[in-house]
Symmetry: C2
Subunit: 175 residues, 2 copies
Amino acid sequence: MKLGEGVEAAIHCAAMLAGVDGNSTMSGAAMAEAFGLSPSYLLKHLNQLTTARILESVPGPAGGYRLARPAERITLLDIVLAVEGREPAFRCGEIRQRGPVKLDASAYVKPCGINAAMLKAERAYRAALAEATLSDIVADFMNDADPRTVAASCAFVERRQRPQKVQSSSQPSKA
Amino acid sequence: MKLGEGVEAAIHCAAMLAGVDGNSTMSGAAMAEAFGLSPSYLLKHLNQLTTARILESVPGPAGGYRLARPAERITLLDIVLAVEGREPAFRCGEIRQRGPVKLDASAYVKPCGINAAMLKAERAYRAALAEATLSDIVADFMNDADPRTVAASCAFVERRQRPQKVQSSSQPSKA
DNA sequence: CTATTGTGGATAAAAAATATCCATGAATAG
DNA sequence: CTATTCATGGATATTTTTTATCCACAATAG
């Protein structure tokens, strides 16, 4: 039972994006640099987050990624499922009916109790992940982490975030 | 996040071994046949259960496996950890310190909050697995499953289990 | 002794995770 | 408009993990 490295990367990136101002963005390359990750592979994971509507992406010279909704409404479960897929970790292969004894298919309509027990545990896991919001993660970091790391993170965000053109505010200049 | 197929095989085998009488055993080959599994690979998993002292093994012509302790004191967590290993599914790569910013190692003595949140969820998962005993699994099977499958399982165990030589008891009545 | 069974190591085959590259299209700064 | 920047998606390569097989060995019932 193992989670891919992409999960760690995705959560860290999302937490960093929670720190950008307003609708500013940060490029995938910047985040890859911040965490010493392979840029082209990280983009794959960021793309999964975009597909899951956890992030929004903006193409173009000043483009990048930003959170698709407030950090209060993004949970670790959202991110884990987006990156690892929604299928349960335990996959019942129905080996109970693979034996030499030929038994009618109607004998197996009731679900396998082993599968049920494993899935129940997995629901507990997911429930715990659903309790942890991205804003919790960020708040804990701000409060508990070493002040130097907090300062370094904020400085990085400040330096690398990119403001977006205002387009829908009070003056609809765009038409 | 995925669990290997060995987990399903191991739990089914343990549940079947819970049905053998006294100190009788059942061979790995018999269990592989019962579930349509590759014998040589299944032995690897059974061996992991033996190493973890969940099963006992008996070599020799009448040998095989049996539970090392009552089914009431074997949990799904025991089996999952024995087969999948005891390491957590989320492995923190400390990518927070892999960036270009050179910061003293003393800045990272406090554990990563993301890691803490992921491990907390994993504790909930393991706690749920620890609640499910092998005797629960067997009892649910006996009560809820289709009577034909119960009968078939019991018949298989009855036919393939192997009594052991009595060596220390008082009444060698079986003979 | 002989046949059967688990143990452990070595090894091979298959599948998945990780990583890179490139062509494409979209957006926009200038 | 033009050139640049960036995300997207496909193709592909590399590495690791999982799955599976085989064999020499030790133990033991008959």
